[in-house]
C-alpha cells in the first residue's frame, strides 16, 4: 500500500513515540508495503468480533459515557413534563415520578450528577493529556481537537457516499462526525448548566451581569434551556443512535461503550490512521493481519524502492 503523506506522518510519529526497535520498524514497514492498495479490500476482508477487537476507550471514558447516558435521559424524562406542563402527557409523567415537586427534585439532583460528569471528563482528558505530553506520547491528531483535515474528510466522505470518490478518507481516531457530536454535546451541556443555574439563582446572575444585558440574558436562558434540551434529544435520537445502532454494519448496536473496543473493520474503514498506530503498538495485530493477507492472497507486490519513496497522494 502506498501511504498518503498524512498516513506516513502518523506512522512515523507513532513509531518514534513508541520507541520501537529497528526490527519492529522493519516489520511494520514490510506489513504496510504488503497491504493491498485498495483499503476497501482490507476492511472488507478482515475478521471482526461484534463486541470489539481493538482497545479504544479507557474505563474512565466508558464510565463518563454511562453517566452521561443515564443523566441525559433522566433529565429529559423529568425536564419535559416540567416545561410542557400543559401537555396531556405531562401530568401522568409527573404523577408517575411522585408529583411535580418530586420531578423537580430529581431533575436538579441528576443535573448535579451531570455537572459532576462534565468535570470528571474535563479532569480526565486534561490530566491524560498532561501525562501523555510528559511521556512524549501526545499527538494532537489523536485528540478531539478539530483540524482542517476534518473539513477535507467531511468533503471527501460526501464524495464517497455520492459515488464520486473511490474510497472513504483516511480518518483519525476521532472522525469529523465524532468531533461535531462531541462539541455539540459540550456546548449543549454548558448551555444547560448556565441556563439551569440562571433559573436556580436568578438574583445572582442578575447581580453579576451588566444592567444592559441582565434581563436579556435571563430571557435567552429561559429560551435556551428547553430549546437546547429538545435539540439535544433530537440529535441523540436521530443521529447518535443512528451512528451507533442503525447505521449499516453497526446494527443492532456497537458494544464500544461497554467493552471499550472497536471492531477491526470499523477501525480500518473510519479510523485508518488510528489503525496504523495499532499496527505499531500491537504486534499481535500485525501478525493477525499478516495471516489474513496470506490466507486470502491479498498481499500486494513487494515494493521495488524504499518506503520513503512510496509516499503519494491518495486518490
Amino acid at each position: 500500500m502506498k501511504l498518503s503523506v498524512e498516513a506516513k506522518s502518523v506512522l512515523e510519529t507513532s513509531m518514534r513515540q513508541n520507541r520501537i526497535s529497528d526490527d519492529e520498524r522493519k516489520d511494520v514497514n514490510d506489513l504496510i508495503s504488503s497491504l493491498p492498495d485498495d483499503r476497501v479490500l482490507l476492511y472488507k476482508n478482515v475478521v471482526s468480533n461484534p463486541i470489539g477487537d481493538i482497545y479504544r476507550y479507557s474505563l474512565h471514558i466508558r464510565i463518563q459515557h454511562m453517566l452521561t447516558f443515564v443523566t441525559f435521559l433522566t433529565l429529559a424524562f423529568t425536564g419535559l413534563p416540567i416545561h410542557f406542563f400543559n401537555a396531556f402527557w405531562a401530568e401522568p409523567m409527573n404523577t408517575f415520578l411522585g408529583g411535580v415537586e418530586i420531578t423537580r427534585v430529581i431533575h436538579r439532583t441528576i443535573a448535579v450528577i451531570m455537572i459532576f460528569t462534565m468535570v470528571y471528563h474535563i479532569l480526565t482528558i486534561t490530566l491524560g493529556s498532561i501525562v501523555r505530553i510528559k511521556q512524549g506520547l501526545f499527538d494532537i491528531r489523536r485528540t478531539m481537537i478539530p483540524l482542517m483535515k476534518d473539513v477535507r474528510d467531511f468533503r471527501d466522505d460526501l464524495l464517497y457516499f455520492a459515488g464520486k470518490r473511490d474510497q472513504r478518507p483516511e480518518m483519525d481516531k476521532f472522525m469529523y462526525k465524532q468531533k461535531i457530536h462531541y462539541f455539540a454535546a459540550a456546548f449543549g451541556n454548558t448551555v444547560m448548566i448556565v441556563s439551569g443555574s440562571s433559573f436556580l439563582f436568578p438574583e445572582l446572575w442578575a447581580s453579576i451581569l451588566p444592567e444592559s444585558i441582565a434581563a436579556h440574558f435571563q430571557e435567552l436562558m429561559r429560551l435556551s434551556h428547553p430549546h437546547e434540551a429538545l435539540l439535544a434529544l433530537l440529535v441523540i435520537a436521530f443521529w447518535h443512535w443512528y451512528n451507533v445502532h442503525l447505521a449499516p454494519g453497526r446494527f443492532p448496536m456497537q458494544w464500544t461503550f461497554l467493552t471499550g473496543k472497536i471492531t477491526r473493520e470499523h477501525q480500518i474503514e473510519e479510523h485508518f490512521h488510528e489503525y496504523l498506530r495499532n499496527l505499531v503498538e500491537l504486534p499481535e495485530e500485525r501478525e493477525l493481519l499478516c495471516d489474513m493477507l496470506e490466507s486470502r492472497e491479498l498481499c500486494s507486490e513487494p515494493p521495488a524502492q524504499s518506503n520513503a519513496d512510496l509516499v503519494t497522494e491518495e486518490s
Partner: protein, 394 residues
Amino acid sequence: MINKKTLYLSHRHPLQIQTAVQKRSYPHVFLTALLIGLTLLYIQDVQASFSDDEGCLICHKYPRMTRVTEDGAIRSYYVMPGVFANTVHRNVPCRDCHSYIKELPHREVKEGVQCNSECHSVKNPATGKQFSHKGIYDAYKGSVHGREKNTQGIESDKPYCITCHTNPIYDPNEAGPPKHIVDRCVLCHEDQKFVEQWYKHTSRRIRDVKRSSEEIVQLCSSCHEDKKLIDRHVKHAAENNLELGKKFKVAVESYEESFHGKLTNYGFQGTANCLDCHAKEDNYYKSVHEIRPSRDPLSPTHKDNRVETCKRCHTRADSNYAGIDPHPTALADDGVFRHYAEKIYDLISYITILGLVGLSMFETFGRRRDGVAFRLRKGTSWRRKSKRGRDRVE
C-alpha cells in the same frame, strides 16, 4: 344525606362557582341546579333563624320566584331563609342594602345594591357608627377597577364588588371554640351562642383567609383572559387615545408561561400570583382592592417600585433583577429580542435535524452501494455484493 364534602367546597369557594358560571353557560345551569338541590337538602337541617320583620319572605320564600331577563336567562329571586341565616349578612335586614324598596309589593328594581351604603341596623362596635363597607369601597373606587354600580358600555366590563365577593356561607364543619374558652367568656357575656359567633368571627380573621394562588389567578383570568373583553378595551383605548398596560393583551397567557404561572398551575402556594405583585404589600386586604396600572407611580409594578416588589420574595433582587420580564412572550410587539431569538433557535434546530437526518440517509445509501450489510455476522458486515466492483474474498 347530603354530600358533606361537596357542600363544604361549595361553601368555601363560592367564587369558583361564580367564575365558572361567567365562563360557560351549561356548567352554570348544572352548577346552579346542583347548588340549589344540595342546598334544599341542606336546609332541611337548618333552622331558619333570621327574622323577616320587613315581610320580604312573603314573596321571596317561593322557589319559583323567577323571571326571564331580556337576554333570555332565568333569574331567580328566591331567598332561602335557612341558607341566608348562615351567611355573613344574616344580621342585616334586607332593606339596609335594598334601600330603594319603599313599598310592598315593590316595582321593578333598577338600582341594585350599592355596597358602600350604611347598615342602619348594624353598628360598628369600634366606632359606634353605622356599619359600612365604604372604606374599602372608596379604595376600590380609586383603583383601576373602580366603577359605579349601574354603568353602561366599556366601564361595565370592570368588576363590581359582587364579581369577586359573594355572600359567603359559614362552614358548618368549622371547629367551634374550645370548651375552656367558652366557659370563661360566658362568665361575663352570658350568651353561649354570642360567644361562639364572636369566637368564629375573630378566629377566622386571625387565620389566613386569603384565597389560594390558583383561585386568585382563576378570578383575575375570568376577565383578563376574555379575548372579547380585551379586544373591546384595546379598541376603546385606541379610539380615545388612552394608555393601556403593555401586557394587558397577554397578561394571563404570559403569566401561565412564566415560572410563577407554571408553579401556581402545579399548586404551589409560595409562588407569586397576580396580587403578590400587583397589590401593595402593606395591608393586603385593603391593597388588593386598590390595584393600579403599572404606569401609576403608586403601583407596586411601577418601574420605580419594582425592586421593592421583587424583594418581597427574592430578597437579593436588585434593579437588574427587577428588569426581568415576569410576563414573557415571544410576540414581536412585546419582546423583540425574545421573538427573534426564538426564531433563530427554531431555524438552527430545523437545519440541524434535517441536515443530520439527510447526512445519515446519504451515508447509508453510499455505504450500502459498496456492499455493507446491516448486521456484523460471521466476522464481517461486508457480505453483500458491491455495486462498485470490489467484494470480500470468499
